[in-house]
């Protein structure tokens, strides 16, 4: 929308900012020491998980406590087809995303009949069901031990995805794609409806929108993005395990998004990066590292109640998407 001053909207600035962020990450590859480059690869993939969560929670206002199941749908969807059926990386990735979207469709149809606290509990419960299913079929899933993908299977054409540099760029490519998808969705007319649902659901219905269908679409897109992160995680790091299906991995994306700023496009990345390093650094010194995570969260709630980028947008950069 190019209209002057009617909306706090600067599409050019926003587009340039996001291209710049991706370019900074390209440059970082050549600067970062090996260890931190590996951390960044992981963080970029997990940030996509958070971005998927942000679509449901940040933009549409659906507080799910079960998003680990969508990440795992991608993780196992890719991991099992590749290890048991011998599918290649591209097919595995697609399989993972399809599994996530299909699971999100079914869960959405059931869970969206509830709202608020009931929605939280129902999503939590379904995620727990998936966790127990993974443990129950340990013959195929490896149970809580999980399984590894052979390095030979983790090749994409000429690219060896076990190589740290290739892996970093693959993670960055996924992140850039997820960023583009998120921006395209939230800036579209349909995306505005999602935000409106978060703000006042009853009013949206009385403006003639099918609220249930819009929420279902948000859940499916959110599930597909989280599954893309899960599938990529399996492919890049070669490990598939039930830890990722635990409640912890449903809570983490919520914290990452809150930290970085709900309903901001880059907030999930900021939150994930910050949290990863707080845990990484403090756990070198003490086993009580969760204490530091807690303190960091309290400070954020006190000084950045809308998350880092949410507060930045409110005070300084109203055009930030």
């Amino acid at each position: 929308m190019s209209g002057p001053a009617v909306r706090n909207d600067r599409p050019m600035a926003a587009a340039l900012l996001h291209v710049a962020v991706v370019l900074v990450f390209v440059a970082l590859q050549y600067v970062l020491p090996d260890y931190h480059r590996a951390v960044f690869s992981r963080v970029l993939v997990l940030a996509v998980f958070a971005m998927g969560y942000n679509l449901a929670f940040g933009y549409t206002g659906l507080l799910s406590l079960g998003h680990a199941m969508f990440f795992c749908a991608g993780l196992y969807g890719a991991g099992m087809t590749m290890s048991m059926l011998g599918w290649n990386v591209a097919a595995g990735l697609v399989a993972g995303i399809v599994c996530g979207a299909a699971l999100a469709l079914v869960i959405g149809l059931l869970a969206l009949r509830t709202t608020g606290v009931a929605f939280m509990i129902v999503t939590l419960m379904f995620a727990q069901v998936l966790y127990l299913v993974i443990l129950y079929f340990n013959e195929y899933t490896g149970g809580d031990q999980g399984f590894s993908l052979r390095p030979a299977a983790r090749q994409l054409g000429p690219f060896d995805l076990t190589d740290p540099t290739t892996r970093y760029f693959a993670a960055l490519a996924l992140f850039a794609a997820a960023l583009a998808v998120t921006l395209a969705i939230v800036r579209s007319p349909r995306g505005r409806v999602l935000v409106a649902i978060r703000e006042n659901e009853d009013r949206v219905r009385m403006l003639g929108y099918n609220v249930f269908a819009a929420k279902l679409a948000a859940v499916v897109l959110s599930g597909a993005l989280c599954a893309a992160a899960g599938a990529t995680y399996a492919i890049l790091f070669g490990y598939v395990g039930a830890t990722f299906a635990t409640i912890q991995y449903s809570i983490l994306p919520l914290l990452w998004v809150l930290l970085g700023g709900a309903a901001t496009a880059l907030g999930p990345l900021v939150g994930t990066l910050f949290m990863y390093y707080v845990v990484d650094i403090t756990s070198n010194y003490t086993t009580a590292y969760l204490l530091f995570v807690g303190v960091a969260l309290i400070l954020l709630v006190l000084y950045f109640p809308k998350g880092v980028l949410g507060t930045v947008r409110e005070r300084w950069l109203p055009w930030l998407p």
Binding site: P189, E199, L207, N210
Partner: protein, 249 residues
């Protein structure tokens, strides 16, 4: 008048909440182009009745017919697309979005139904609705920061931007100043040139000035219906409003 298909018709429309019959077998007819007011004491079932018409909850019994089509089974959002718009009794706007975005959501819905969603027509439609309600110069303000009277107007603008055939107002002037009410009367007369207006209102001078026909509700049923002067002179209506019946004396 009899030859025209009514825009809205209800037959035996009822809704109970537990043992309470909030709306009890109401037969109601509204002709296209009318300005109709619904009045009645608090708790008479006025809001429940219009909520059944626009589908905010389903009736216990009876039918709603809009432009000759039975819409009783349609969900609220489908009824809005057929042309029934509702403005809330308690102001219900998107308070954290801008005034423009509030109205743009309505325009977008109307454009989506019409087939094409072009940025230019979205903007034009929103600005037009804001100009009609006198909010154009506040387009970029956050809706929640508007004065109460302006929030009510925004509510009206959102309804207008849907380009409805029937616009339902639920106590639109509650809490407005006299000056604002005057502006509202002018606005409703303008709206009525190309839409039918159904108005729940307590402000009697306003009802008398605006409405062509008045329907009086009491205890979930229609007590009386007629022109403003007929209603003014109706004994049963006077009793309902004054509370005491002359016959009991």
């Amino acid at each position: 008048m009899a030859a025209v298909t009514p825009l809205l018709e209800t037959r035996g429309l009822s809704r109970s909440f537990g043992g309470l019959k909030a709306v009890d077998r109401v037969d109601f007819t509204l002709q296209p182009g009318e300005i109709r007011a619904i009045i009645g004491p608090n708790g008479a079932g006025k809001t429940t009745f219009v909520s059944l018409v626009c589908g905010r909850f389903p009736p216990s019994a009876g039918k709603v017919i809009f432009d000759g089509e039975d819409i009783t089974a349609l969900p609220a959002h489908r009824r809005v697309r057929k042309g029934i718009a509702y403005t809330f009794q308690i102001t219900s706007i998107f308070s954290r979005l801008t005034v423009f975005d509030n109205v743009a959501l309505s325009v977008q819905r109307a454009l989506l139904s019409g087939g094409g969603l072009a940025t230019a027509s979205l903007k034009r439609g929103a600005i037009e609705a804001l100009e009609r309600t006198g909010l154009a110069d506040r387009a970029h303000e956050t809706a929640g920061n508007l004065a109460y009277g302006h929030q009510r107007l925004l509510e009206v603008a959102m309804g207008l931007a849907l380009r409805p055939r029937l616009l339902i107002f639920d106590e639109p002037t509650q809490g407005l100043s006299d000056g604002e009410i005057e502006g509202f009367v002018t606005l409703v007369r303008q709206i009525a040139q190309d839409a039918t207006v159904l108005l729940i209102e307590h402000n009697m001078p306003l009802v008398m000035a605006l409405a062509q026909t008045i329907t009086v509700f009491e205890r979930g049923s229609i007590l009386a219906e007629g022109t403003p002067s007929e209603i003014r002179d109706d004994r049963a209506v006077q009793d309902a409003y004054l509370g005491a019946s002359a016959d009991d004396d």
